[in-house]
């Protein structure tokens, strides 16, 4: 299928499929295997793993009976089982990918190929096909726009999947092709496009088009990005388009931007690998030394022993035999079961995530989902989070919040109230105050929005079929609504046009879309009133206006104006129609239709930071110039005679708005005289005709013209943050995680949002790295370094996309230094590739990274990071598909990491270390026994014991460690610093491994030495018939002791006991006794009858008791001592929890009932509890020294104390207004009397206890807002 020769120029012929044959078809593949390549590739992959190679070698050696210590079946059975399981797992995963691909590949599209229209599946689309796309459809491949339903060949697209930008972009077909807007014309089209071979540049498309292939004289027309519609792009606000496909399949821009799916290894996996290598080395040394000892014994002692029958001359390989025997004997040190155990555990962690109702989004009915089932532990190890902005931190819904008109600020009363409901503003409108009317006129006129009328019957038609959903969601926000209407239009076009094809499949498409919009519905009462504007037209029919906006800000402004009674209803090329729906003193509501002539629009650009419209009111002939823009731009263009007080007031308001994280815009106007207008238009015309420097000239004219404005006022729009984002970010910070924001949005918006969501405090020091060239960037970085050296404070960093590119390429080390010392870094105007480069930069520093995003532009970042989290958002499912975990709200990240991540890490850390521990322990016994058997490599335990030890008795009970928790969930939220336990790897590091290793060696040695001591020579005789100790007897006694020891070890390590633990741990012990008695009664077994003798022998029980006590004693003492006298933070918190629970104090209310749970959960976000050392400030000294923090905490550091006291004072000040939840703690400890008490001086969670556990500062507002914290 693939071309062998490297392509230099791609020539695409329309309606001539033969000449395009060499290009690949449009099949998108993300899967790894075919059915025929599955076995070889999978086996190859499995054997690529060091551990598997090792096991294979060991298993092969086992076949040589002369060296095999036990029956070869004991290793081959488990090994093949493990391989099979692993293969099945990857097979199923791939099957799933196949299914997803298939779904994408089998969408039906209407295309024109070889002059004939036909319907083809997405995968069969070829280069050169002319594709028909309808509104809201997703482009299946990269297209060159030929024509659209609009006469001027324009169309709107949304490129969210590609670059994450949700605003609409225009694409214009070339003049030559835009007339070809029907099937008939297009099937005659014989054009040729020459373009570059496939490349990942999404902003570059240099190519040319010839209308007639055969016409040699004809010149090429040049094509640019303006004519392209890339794969994954959605068509919007345009009925249909035709486009010629140029790149297909995985060669599209989107496909080229996709990184190949890489199998991810968790940090623990890598640590396990390292540990395996270390153990392998230890093993090697042991083999060498024991082999040497064995050979020595053989030549010194063994040869003297006639009963060993050593021949005088031996085969050459005999010197290898003893070392190899030891190799096999202690090969169990690397437990074969660990991989399978871990795989199963990991799948279960993933299921825990999928099943977690506390991450269930009840608004949209979506839960969390783990796409990658094998990396949950890494969720507990994250040090850096890279977050997208739009749709991830924010809702991507703009809302008009406040305004300041003529020096009066509206909507200030309440934090959450809208200016549109401010009675003062309504009054002003009612009184028709001229500034206010002009202000809203400006809002209504100064934009690029297209209002669209919708007949009500269409809406009803759509609604009726989905009424069920509608009734469930009474309040539907803007976005959903517009989506609904979009569908209505689809129906329209289906009815009207004859050449429409494939209604059925389109309906499917619509259904899909609708499902999707149903999923993303969001309740929002505030928006409700703005949503629908119904106008009665002449015939009395209900009509509805919706606004098609390229920017959600503009939409919010126009809607605000409309709410206030100035409704923008129609835009024709030159005429704008408004309906004034104002109160009239005499006749109540009165509708006046007014029309305006749009003379000129001075467009918005990021350089100008302003936009103006030149308007003539039809009727009065008055000409106005309305301007809106960023504050600095507007303030310097005001009339110099503007009232100082008004200026001051407005500036103040704008600043206030900005401080609240709102996006501000300033508005002004001026009247224009006819003469002035004439001069301007003349100048404009001449400038516009210039070829060189046109832009500059135009800007000069605009600048001159846009002067002397009267200030109207300012607006403040909220890019609504998602629920609980600031709290989430704060808690994540306290958990010691750095959060960066990587956004494609511009600087000012990013800054505002990052302030609003707590990423940057309002007084935080922000440095911006600027510069378009290397030297400038270098200078800038240097300057920042100097400032940092002087200031010595926490700082925040901003980098723009271009600057970032330069810095990443040539100043990487400096950039890294600057970035990792910053509290947070925000990258704006970044491309997907740059995002992933930033992630990679930190990843290369061996930091654990997590990327979270919702759009197609986050895909590369999500794939680069150790963990990618996709938010099921409004921008399609690309991010979710590429991600390892998908969640529906940003706030669930908290639970995903702090609870699931930490627990997974904690559990895996135990399971891995325990697996190695029990294996080493077993091998130590085997090795020590060889000291009494002439280092001959004998196994102390029989084959049966060896197999069941690893395969059954120690393998299964540890699965019940899967729901073990060292600290309960609520307490992790209350003490986010506990996350450092996992992110700093406190459960699994060299130190813990060392202690497990010591434990294994000690306990192994104790077991064997005591056994030998007790069963030693002449002292032992079996009380029943006087026979001496026999190998079977001592080995079975040993095995019983070993299993008891392992059972108690598990019991000792289980921190959270439930009925299941008891059942499993003690159940397995009983199971052991029963099964060994059973095995004991089968004559063919080696251990026939030995168990009866063992169990009836008091020595056996005495030995087991003795060995267990001696082996566990130091462990218990060490645990007791450390938890009592050098406790870790987790120990203390756990202790407190247990203590409070056992006294019936309120920590456990969260478990008891829903009602209490709710109250409890509301406390969590405002948990500024001082009692837990949880003062809201992350203190690295306190938190980075696990063991020692107990001692350190008691030392009073003057600085930290100061901070702490300040916070406490603030809290005390605050708490007078606060509600307090008090648990009445009666002597009978009837702790069900939970009540909410409003008191003045007791805001502690517990009354009557000065050392209270939680202090709460829960505000009344948080009761409403923070419903789903845990």
């Amino acid at each position: 299928m693939r071309r062998k020769k490297k392509e230099t120029l791609r020539r695409v012929f329309a309606n001539n499929s033969e000449s395009n044959d060499r290009y690949i078809n449009n099949k998108v593949t993300n899967s790894k295997y075919h059915w025929w390549s599955f076995l070889p590739i999978n086996l190859w992959e499995q054997f690529g793993r060091f551990m598997n190679q090792y096991f294979l070698i060991i298993a092969t050696l086992q076949l040589w009976t002369e060296i095999a210590p036990v029956d070869p079946k004991t290793i081959w059975g488990p090994l093949s089982f493990i391989f099979l399981l692993s293969a099945i797992k990857s097979g199923l995963d791939d099957l799933n990918r196949h299914r997803v691909d298939k779904k994408a590949n089998e969408r039906i599209f209407h295309v024109i190929r070889d002059c004939e229209p036909r319907d083809v599946m997405s995968k069969n689309i070829r280069v050169g096909d002319i594709i028909y796309l309808k509104e809201n459809m997703e482009s299946p491949c990269d297209l060159v726009l030929l024509s659209s339903s609009n006469k001027d060949g324009s169309c709107y697209i949304q490129t969210a999947n590609l670059d994450g930008e949700t605003d609409l972009k225009t694409r214009v077909a070339l003049k030559g092709t835009r007339v070809l807007n029907s099937q008939g014309l297009l099937s005659q089209f014989k054009g040729l496009i020459e373009c570059k071979p496939p490349n990942p540049e999404i902003y570059l498309f240099d190519s040319r088009l010839k209308m007639e292939t055969n016409d040699t004289d004809e010149d090429f027309l040049s094509l640019s990005v303006k004519q392209t519609i890339f794969q994954g792009v959605h068509l919007k606000n345009t009925k249909f388009i035709y486009g010629l496909s140029v790149y297909t399949g995985n060669e599209t821009k989107l496909g080229m931007n996709k990184l190949p799916p890489e199998s991810k290894w968790t940090k623990i996996d890598r640590q396990i690998n390292n540990m395996t290598i270390v153990i392998f080395c230890i093993q090697f040394l042991l083999v060498l030394s024991l082999g040497a000892l064995g050979s020595l014994w053989k030549s010194k002692e063994g040869k003297k022993k006639f009963y060993l029958y050593y021949p005088r001359d031996e085969e050459w390989y005999q010197f290898l035999i003893i070392p190899l025997r030891f190799l096999l004997l202690i090969s169990l040190m690397i437990p074969i079961s660990v991989k399978v155990t871990l795989d199963i555990c990991k799948s279960l962690y993933a299921l825990f995530i999928n099943w977690d109702l506390k991450m269930w989004d009840y608004d949209n009915n979506i839960g969390a989902y783990a796409n990658n089932t094998s990396i949950s532990e890494d969720l507990g190890q994250i040090e850096y989070i890279f977050s997208d902005k739009t749709g991830t931190l924010t809702e991507n819904i703009m809302e008009f919040k406040k305004c300041s008109i003529a020096g009066i600020s509206y909507g200030n009363k309440h934090k959450h109230s809208s200016a549109l409901k401010d009675p003062r503003l309504c009054k002003a409108i009612k009184n028709q105050q001229p500034e206010v009317i002009l202000f809203f006129l400006n809002l209504a006129l100064n934009n690029t929005i297209v209002p669209i009328k919708i007949k009500n019957k269409d809406r009803i038609a759509v609604n009726s079929s989905f009424s069920q959903e509608d009734s469930r969601y009474d309040d539907i926000s803007v976005v959903e609504n517009s989506k609904k209407i979009d569908i209505a239009i689809d129906y329209d076009s289906n009815d009207d046009s004859d050449d429409d094809v494939n209604v059925g499949s389109d309906e499917d498409e619509i259904l899909l879309k609708l499902d999707h919009s149903g999923e993303t519905k969001k309740k929002d009462k505030n928006l409700d009133s703005l949503n629908e504007h119904q106008v009665k037209n002449e015939s009395g029919k209900q009509k509805k206006i919706i606004y098609k906006a390229s920017s959600p800000d503009e939409e919010a402004l126009v809607k605000a104006a409309s709410t206030m009674g100035i409704e923008f209803v129609e835009r024709e090329t030159k005429t704008l129609t408004l309906i004034f729906n104002l109160h009239d003193a005499k006749s109540g509501r009165n509708k006046i239709k007014r029309q305006y002539e749009l003379i000129k629009t001075l467009n918005f650009t990021s350089d100008r930071k302003r936009m103006s419209v030149l308007i003539k009111e039809i009727g009065t002939q008055e000409i106005y110039l309305f301007i809106k823009g960023a504050d600095d731009e507007i303030f310097k263009r005001l009339d110099p005679q503007t009232d100082e007080a008004l200026l001051e007031k407005t500036k103040n308001d704008v600043e206030n708005f900005a401080r609240k994280g709102l996006r501000t815009l300033l508005f002004g106007y001026r009247a224009v005289t006819g003469k002035e207008l004439k001069r301007f238009l003349k100048e404009y015309k001449t400038a516009n005709n210039e070829i060189e420097g046109r832009e500059r000239e135009l800007e000069k004219i605009f600048h001159k013209f846009e002067q002397n404005f009267h200030l109207l006022g300012a607006t403040a729009i909220e890019d609504k943050l998602q629920d609980q984002v600031p709290e989430t970010i704060r808690i994540l910070r306290e958990a010691g995680i750095k959060i960066w924001m990587l956004t494609g949005d511009k600087y000012s918006t990013s800054l505002q949002i990052s302030k609003a969501c707590n990423l940057i405090p309002h007084n935080g020091i922000v440095y911006k790295i600027e510069g378009g060239e290397q030297i400038a960037v270098e200078k800038c970085i240097k300057a920042i370094f100097q400032k940092i050296a002087v200031n010595q404070q926490n700082y925040y960093l901003f980098i723009g996309g271009k600057t970032l590119e330069i810095a990443l390429n040539s100043l990487k080390s400096k950039l890294i230094k600057l970035c990792i010392n910053a509290n947070s870094v925000i990258c704006c105007r970044t491309t997907p590739q740059q995002k992933s480069k930033v992630v990679k930069m930190i990843k290369d520093l061996k930091k654990m990274t997590l990327a979270i995003g919702d759009g197609g532009n986050d895909v590369t970042m999500i794939q680069t990071a150790h963990i990618g989290v996709g938010i099921v958002g409004k921008e399609g499912l690309q991010a979710v598909r590429a991600s390892d975990y998908s969640i529906s709200r940003f706030k669930f990240l908290l639970r995903l990491m702090l609870v699931h991540g930490r627990y997974s890490y904690y559990r895996t850390a135990f399971i891995v270390q325990y697996s190695f521990y029990k294996a080493i322990f077993f091998c130590v016994i085997q090795i020590i026994y060889n000291f009494w058997s002439g280092f001959s490599g004998i196994s102390f335990f029989n084959s049966m014991s060896v197999m069941t030890y690893n395969g059954i008795f120690t393998a299964f009970p540890i699965f019940f460690y899967l729901h073990d928790k060292d600290v309960s969930e609520e307490l992790i939220y209350l003490n986010p610093q506990l996350y450092l336990d996992s992110s700093k790897g406190r459960f699994f590091n060299k130190k813990t491994l060392f202690w497990w290793f010591v434990r294994a060696v000690y306990q192994g040695a104790i077991t064997m030495l005591f056994l030998a001591f007790i069963f030693k020579d002449r002292d032992y005789l079996y009380a029943m018939d006087g026979s001496g100790a026999d190998q079977a007897l001592i080995s079975m006694t040993g095995f019983t002791a070993v299993l008891l020891l392992q059972t108690f070890t598990l019991a000792l390590e289980t921190k959270h006991w439930t009925l299941y633990n008891h059942l499993i741990i003690w159940g397995f012990l009983i199971f052991y006794y029963l099964s060994s008695l059973l095995a004991n009664s089968l004559p063919n077994f080696e251990m026939y009858y030995a168990m009866f003798r063992t169990f009836s022998d008091p020595i056996h029980w005495l030995a087991c008791l003795l060995i267990n006590v001696v082996a566990q004693l130091p462990v218990i003492i060490a645990k007791y001592w450390s938890s009592q006298y050098t406790p870790t933070r987790a120990d203390l918190i756990r202790e407190k929890e247990v203590y409070y629970r056992s006294n019936g104090l309120p920590i456990n209310i969260a478990h008891k009932s829903k009602k209490k749970n709710l109250i409890y959960s509301k406390i969590i976000p405002s948990y500024n509890s001082s009692d837990f050392g949880n003062n809201g400030i992350f203190d690295p000294i306190r938190d980075c020294f696990g063991k020692r923090d107990f001692k350190r905490m008691n030392k009073k550091d003057p600085l930290t104390r100061l901070i702490k006291d300040n916070i406490e004072n603030e809290l005390l000040k605050k708490h007078n207004e606060l509600h307090s939840i008090t648990q009445t703690n009666s002597k009978n400890s009837s702790f069900n009397h939970l009540k909410i008490v409003e008191t003045d001086d007791d805001y502690y969670f517990l009354s009557g206890n000065s050392q209270s556990m939680f202090s709460t500062s829960s505000t009344s507002s948080s009761f409403q807002d923070n419903e789903m914290m845990i």
Partner: protein, 292 residues
């Protein structure tokens, strides 16, 4: 799901220590008392013995039946890998062993290394081949009368019933391929139960009724065949009575005593530490660093 989070608090650890200390000390005393009731006489005989010799023993106390009579070997590695594996349980159960299957018996496999099933040793393997072949008979010295020791019932009953069966036809005792003509010989079965450690005792005979009287001399007539000098081993004989924990196993008594005392010491020191420098449980002051 509810559950309990147990803690290692002084309240549970210290009583636990005391409890185990008490259990261990009580057990230690019981063990020592029981062990003191066991009588044992052991004597090495390989040094001064040629092919035949007599050894005399004189119990200091009456040894009541059952009295067990053992032979004891030292520096004898029955647990050596080469040795332990060199047997065929299948053959010992009385089934015919083909030459191919007899590879487990390496190096004692077939007579003259012939590759024929008929030539396979009966039974094959080092364990059977190296069977201990000294014999003992115990007599009262004064009367030269045999004491009532019996050599029946020294092997595990289960072995006699299931694991060792004579082949059909019985091996010809004169054939060079026959190592042991009667697989159900109890001395043979006892020998085939390999010992786990290089010093071991194997039961030879039991005095099921009567007693070995105090201050009476008993002679043990030994036929000394088994070579041990070349590998610096020793051979001894031993008489022992038994109690509920078996023989004179003082090792376990000492273990219990030492551990019991250790636990007691630990408990006391924990108690002191807790009383003098203990901390309040569940007190937040250890977590917040500025509260007094």
């Amino acid at each position: 799901m509810g559950g309990k989070n147990p803690l290692l608090t002084p309240k549970c650890v210290i009583p636990f220590c005391y409890l185990f200390s008490a259990i261990f000390l009580v057990l230690a005393i019981t063990l020592f008392v029981s062990i003191s009731k066991v009588d044992e006489i052991t004597q090495r005989y390989d040094k001064d013995c040629t092919t035949k010799c007599n050894i005399t023993i004189e119990p200091t106390k009456d040894m009541l039946a059952p009295v067990y009579f053992y032979y004891q070997l030292t520096n004898y590695h029955q647990n050596h890998r080469k040795y332990i594996k060199s047997r065929s349980d299948k053959q010992l159960r009385g089934e015919t062993l083909s030459y191919a299957d007899s590879s487990v018996c390496d190096p004692i496999r077939s007579y003259d290394d012939k590759e024929s099933t008929k030539e396979v040793y009966e039974p094959c393997g080092l364990v059977a081949w190296s069977k201990f072949n000294d014999t003992f008979s115990i007599m009262e010295e004064s009367t030269q009368k045999s004491v009532g020791f019996t050599e029946k019932g020294i092997a595990w009953e289960s072995d006699l019933d299931e694991k060792f069966k004579n082949p059909d036809p019985l091996p010809d005792p004169d054939s060079p391929t026959t190592i042991q003509s009667n697989y159900q010989d109890e001395h043979f079965i006892v020998w085939m139960r390999v010992a786990p450690l290089p010093t071991f005792r194997k039961l030879y005979a039991i005095l099921k009724t009567g007693k070995l009287e105090k201050n009476k001399k008993y002679t043990i007539q030994i036929e000394n065949n088994y070579p041990v000098h070349q590998f610096e081993g020793t051979k001894s004989i031993s008489f022992s009575t038994s109690t509920w924990i078996g023989g004179k196993n003082s090792a376990i008594g000492w273990c219990y005593l030492v551990i019991g005392l250790l636990l007691l010491a630990l408990s006391i020191s924990f108690t002191l530490k807790h009383l003098l420098w203990g901390r309040e449980l569940g007190n937040s002051k250890y977590l917040s660093w500025n509260k007094n």
